[in-house]
Structure formats: C-alpha cells, structure tokens
C-alpha cells in the first residue's frame, strides 16, 4: 500500500500534468479566437493573413476535392523513400569510413564542407541533372539526410569502448567480427536515434524540393497558394504539414522505443 504522503505526491504530479496540458490547449484556443475576432472586426486584412474559419473551409474543400490525401501521400512517400535510403546509405558509408581510416582521413574535410553547405543551393543543379520531377526532390532530401547520418553514425562507431575491441582482438577476432560483434551492436542506439534526426531532415529536404520543382505534395500546395496569392491555402498547407510531420515524428519515436526495448 502507498503511504498517504506518497499518494499526495502522486496527486501533485498528476495535477501538475493536467495543468500543463490545460494551459497548452487554452493557449491554442485563445490564439485562434483572437485571430478569428481580429478578422471578424476587420482589424486585420484576411486577404493577407487569412482566418481560422477560412483555413478550415480551405481544408474541407481540399478534402471534398479528394486531392488533399494525394498531396499528403506524395509528401509522405517522398519523405519515407529518402529517409530509408538516407539511413541505409549513410550507415553503409559510415561503415566504409570506419573500415578504412585512410578513406576517412581523405573524405573528412569534404564531408564537413558538404555538411555546412546549405543544400538548397544545389537545387538548380539537381533539377538540371535529374529533371523537374520527383527524383530531384528525393535527391535533395537524400543529400540532407545522408550527410548527417554518416557523421552521426561514424561518431558512434569511433566512440566504441576500446577495451571491448581489445577484448575481441585478444580472441584473435577479424575486423569483420569486430564490426559485427562490438561496433554495430554498441552503436545500435546511436543509429536508432539518428532516425529521429533523419526524419526531420528528410522532410525539410522534401519540402524544399517541392518548393522548387513539384506539381504535387504539401510543399507544392504552399508554393502554389503563395503564387496565386491565396493565403488561405498557404496557411492550410502549413497546418497540414505540421500535423503530418508531427505524426511521422511520433511514429519514428515509437519505432525507436520498440527497437531499443527489444535490445
């Protein structure tokens, strides 16, 4: 049985939690109400700042036209593809760099330069080379996620406890065995947590790509909205994107928890 004091303590924690959530929701509703009121009394120009009502109407009309889900699907599809390829390719390249230190020393400065370059600057080149299509978008997202993956995973590899490596060496382990039995398992959590960074990175790349080239996707909706000066569409797009990215993030966090627990 819990003691009275402990019950009090638990109650206090619960009240605190409820209070936080309550304040969060209130804040959101308050902001929406103020926004709507300002629009109703024409204190702001709804042509350039829209209003919650108009945003909801836009989303409903997108839903009725049936292409809302197509746009969402395209963005999610592009993100998942570049996320998957980015994670696998990045980990693979990190293994190569770990395997051959000479290779690492050679490529280290190049990686740093590419990492610090805003990848959107490569957009025009990518479009010319890969064409104004979905490939360009995936390449753009891939470029962003793969470099970060290489650097994170490689750092995980080299921070493996040297004693553990020595232990295996004392059993006359081959380099491949060291990779398989120590490096990979001990970097497992690093690789998994790089997934979380990667999903955001891929999404940034995809939206950037869609801004530049696409004819579909949430990024396209936002860009199209701004070109025809339909701010309702722009804000609706941003809100949809917010929900989609948050959901994808939650899914990755869920997968991460599952994988780490099994470990």
């Amino acid at each position: 049985m819990d003691s009275l004091d402990y019950k009090k303590y638990k109650k206090k924690l619960l009240i605190n939690k409820i209070l936080v959530i309550f304040t969060q929701i209130t804040l959101l509703i308050l902001l929406l109400i103020i926004w709507q009121l300002l629009a109703n009394f024409e204190l702001i120009n709804t042509f350039i700042s829209s209003s919650p009502k108009k945003v909801i109407e836009t989303i409903i009309s997108l839903h009725e036209q049936q292409n809302l889900y197509h746009h969402i699907w395209i963005t999610v599809y592009e993100t998942v593809i570049s996320f998957g390829i980015g994670t696998i390719l990045g980990t693979f390249i990190a293994i190569l760099l770990w395997w051959n230190n000479f290779l690492y020393k050679v490529f280290d400065p190049y990686l740093t330069i590419i990492n610090s370059l805003p990848k959107v600057a490569l957009g025009p080149i990518i479009i010319i080379w890969a064409g104004a299509n979905i490939n360009s978008i995936i390449i753009m997202a891939l470029l962003i996620s793969v470099i970060v993956t290489i650097i994170t995973v490689y750092n995980g590899f080299v921070s493996t406890d040297q004693n553990k490596i020595n232990l295996l060496k004392s059993f006359k382990a081959t380099k491949f065995q060291i990779l398989r039995y120590v490096i990979l398992p001990s970097s497992y959590s690093t690789i998994i947590s790089s997934l979380k960074i990667n999903i955001s990175m891929s999404l940034i790349g995809v939206i950037m790509g869609e801004f530049l080239v696409s004819k579909e996707g949430i990024g396209y909706l936002i860009m199209y909205g701004s070109q025809v000066f339909n701010l309702n569409l722009v804000i609706a797009g941003i809100i949809i994107l917010m929900v989609v990215s948050y959901l994808m993030y939650l899914i990755v966090v869920y997968i991460e928890k599952k994988l780490i627990k099994e470990n």
Binding site: N163, K164, L168, K169, F171, K172, A173, S186
Partner: protein
C-alpha cells in the same frame, strides 16, 4: 611442476611518436613455469601493461622472442581491468563470445560454460543481462568468459583495480580459487603490492621506464592458503616492505 610453459627472451618495445621515440620496455627476459601464478609489479606508467599487451598479441614487440616450449600449450586468455561485458548480450552469450569468434562453439563447450557458471555462483544469472550484476559478479563472468576458450595461460591486467576495496578482496579470492582449481598458469599485472603477495608464488618487480626486471621474489608463506588468509601470514609484512623499497615510486 618445473616445466617452462612460456619463455620471454630479450623483449624490447619502442614507441614512435611525432616528438620522438620512447623505449617502453628494455630487455625483459622471464621464464614462466606451468601452474605458476606470477605477479608483475612496478611504478605506474612503467610499461607493465605494454608487456602484457605484447604477450597477448594486441601490440607488436620491437625485438626479442616469445617462446612456448610446449606447442600444445600456448593458448592465452586475457582479462582486462574493465569487465567489458556486452550489455546487449546475456551472461551466457557474453561468456560464449570468445568461442563464437574462434568459430569453435560446440554443444559440449557450451555445456561446459554453463557448468562453470553454475559452479561459481552465477546459476541464477545465466540468462540475465550484465546490468543486473554486481561489480564482483561481473568480474567473475569475465573470468569465465576467458576460461571458456580453454586457455593455458591467463593474463590478468589490473583485473581487480576497477572494483571497490571490499569486492576487490572477495573477487581476487574467488578468481584465485577458480584459477587454481582449473589448474591454469597466470600472469597478473597489478599496482597493489598486497594483492601481489597474497596471490602470486613469484613476484617480478619492474623498474621505471624504460622498464627492466629489477628483482624477482619467490613468495614462500607459512601455511599459505587463499589470498585473504595469506594476508595474515607472518612473512606478509616482510615481503611488503622489501617490495615497497624495490619499487621506486618516484621513478
């Protein structure tokens, strides 16, 4: 008992760094007999661990020879200061890692490891993960992991230094008993003189860098039994004093 299992001849080790070369080990020669428990002591940083790393093949020697007179008895087992148990493997799999790497994991060997674990008080932990074990238990698992590959000579590199004093006494007692029971030859590096006297039958004192053999003590204790009991022997303080004076801690 007096057949040599391992003969070290004129081992030298030089390190090269950007700022120059350092002689870590200068001409060490030593014969180790089968069944012996040798302790190597010396001032810190003198290259004791380098010597053990050379024996275990982790690093190359610059010159000299390591001879195993009996070619059938040349297998080494290395035990480090950190237990290095893999947190992602259970205790049994941790103990089998050496056999797995040697691609030598048979059903009989696995059963033998399970028996060792049961024998040395780890029966309830075979399928548990390392984080649920105490420091002393972890070190015992590390020893069984080393024994699993059936080495002829055990190399203990400050194997108990990471433990607190209480567990250190208990674990060194346990490990000593296990090593004696399994009739293994052991070479132990330590900076703890008392530990050396209580466990070893010969103590090699090394000089400061570049390290050489300074003096070798044969330890003869009246009524010698286990390491903890040995500390009560009347010769214990005498050896302690002699070895203390031999090790020049100021370099």
């Amino acid at each position: 008992m007096n057949n040599t299992i391992l003969s070290i001849k004129d081992i030298k080790k030089k390190y090269f760094t950007k700022s120059g070369e350092i002689t870590a080990i200068d001409n060490i020669s030593l014969d180790i007999n089968e069944g012996e428990f040798i302790a190597i002591v010396g001032p810190s940083g003198c290259g004791k661990s380098t010597l053990l790393s050379i024996l275990s093949g982790l690093i190359d020697k610059s010159s000299g020879e390591i001879i195993y007179p009996n070619q059938k008895k040349k297998k080494l087992g290395y035990m480090l200061q950190q237990d290095c148990l893999f947190p992602w493997l259970n205790i049994l799999d941790n103990c089998l890692i050496g056999l797995k790497i040697e691609k030598n994991l048979t059903k009989e060997k696995k059963e033998r490891v399970i028996k060792l674990l049961e024998l040395y008080g780890l029966k309830d932990f075979i399928y548990k993960y390392p984080k649920s074990l105490s420091g002393g238990m972890r070190q015992r698992v590390a020893l069984i992991r080393t024994l699993a590959t059936e080495p002829d000579i055990l190399l203990l590199d400050e194997a108990f230094s990471a433990l607190d004093y209480q567990s250190r006494l208990a674990v060194s007692d346990d490990v000593y008993k296990i090593i004696k029971k399994e009739k293994k030859t052991a070479i132990m590096i330590t900076h703890d003189i008392a530990e050396a006297i209580s466990m070893a039958n010969r103590i090699v004192v090394l000089s400061g860098r570049p390290c050489k053999v300074k003096k070798i003590f044969d330890v003869n204790l009246t009524n010698a039994s286990t390491p903890i009991e040995n500390r009560k022997c009347k010769e214990f303080p005498i050896y302690y004093d002699q070895i203390w004076k031999e090790i020049d801690y100021r370099g």
